[in-house]
Subunit: 238 residues, 2 copies
């Protein structure tokens, strides 16, 4: 039976990190909430919450028979284990999980740029605060995180973190780079040349035939202002 990916319909969001790995590995999956509407997600979550097991706190989560796994980094390392999307030895896998959790950290900070004072409130209600958050994120956090990921991309001979084979970290880093470009096109254009190996990794990943096919399909949703990475021109600067 194919996996079922539960996530909010209408936005790539955090679900896209899971889709990137599933699509690159050509692992079949369905999306109940995209096929049948958000109610399919809400009723499934409620059922799990009342079911007396380890319920997801929030989407995305991936279901395989009786098992439901939530939290992006957790889903990806679980998939990596089952489908060989990690390394060849436990130490390498530990290092990859650590990197994936650092990607989780920057994604949380990205969310915070658009929702600095109310994670459940609208951007429109916190625009002034977002300007300050965006400035420090652009100036301090992007170089700190991308410098770290550039060093990871340089660990082997490229294009991927482990060399010729892509892992769940590469699929997430490629999406992160594209998301940051959507969010801050001027800032990212200004810093791009500082991270040659990270951009080579991103390019190699999107050139994978399965990813090229995915991006050309209607399964692939563009970034938008309901997702994690949002483009508000007033928050960008070189």
């Amino acid at each position: 039976m194919a996996y079922r990916l539960y996530y909010w319909p209408g936005l790539p969001g955090r679900g896209e990190f899971v889709r990137m790995a599933l699509e690159a590995a050509e692992i079949p999956y369905s999306e109940p909430a995209r096929d049948d509407g958000v109610e399919a997600l809400l009723s499934d979550m409620e059922k799990r919450e009342e079911g007396g097991g380890f319920a997801p706190f929030a989407p995305p989560y991936l279901v395989d028979g009786d098992v439901a796994v939530a939290q992006v980094a957790h889903i990806l390392t679980w998939l990596a284990d089952r489908h060989g999307l990690g390394g060849d030895d436990p130490q390498t896998d530990l290092g990859l999980i650590q990197l994936q959790l650092t990607i989780t950290d920057i994604v949380a900070e990205v969310h915070n740029v658009h929702h600095p004072v109310g994670s459940g409130a609208y951007y429109a209600d916190q625009k002034d605060e977002a300007k300050r958050t965006a400035a420090q994120f652009r100036e301090d956090r992007i170089p700190k995180f991308l410098g770290h990921f550039e060093r990871a991309a340089a660990l082997n001979d490229g294009p991927f973190v482990l060399g010729g084979k892509w892992t769940h970290v590469d699929s997430s880093l490629a999406l992160l780079i594209d998301g940051l470009h959507y969010m801050f096109p001027r800032r990212m254009a200004a810093v791009k040349s500082d991270y040659p190996k990270l951009y080579a990794l991103r390019d190699a990943f999107v050139d994978l035939p399965a990813i090229a096919a995915y991006r050309a399909s209607d399964r692939c949703q563009g970034f938008n202002e309901d997702g994690i990475f949002r483009h508000y021109p007033e928050l960008d600067a070189a």
Copy 2:
């Protein structure tokens, strides 16, 4: 050889989640930056960053010989694997990791309450914004997260998530409850009765002889305004 825990000296911070599990399991460890000053941490991090391996992005990280593991949830699941601080089967371990990552999420939101618009800037420079963030955290986020953790605490017959045996999730939940009480004493006093199983879990954990001994020792640092959980009376309300 005992583990070495690297973390900022002078604050419990995120390092305390690691200490809680190490102390409860009576696993020996040393803290180079508490023994020898912050320079011991900074020079070790720099060495690892230049060492061509998977380097920590930030403290805390735990070192055992040639292996260094960073990210609190990752450190704890790694310790759980080695020292039996998890469940008895893979599905249970997956559920525990998922909970631990949800604790990571609320801890990131706690940090954000005090640093809404500048994660690298001082609280004093973002006090007005912090008031808005604190209000939505107190009113919306605390019930959402603690309701989820209360259901986890009710999965078995208590006092811990898996029943009679504590795991890495219980040690983190106990610290979380204490941290939130330090942060928002008025708010937490007002909601405490909504989470009887979670508080029973916390009480059972701090009653473990090893934790009682730790809390009475000078290894245990109190919460303070350099840590993750900070008490600013102006941010609290019932």
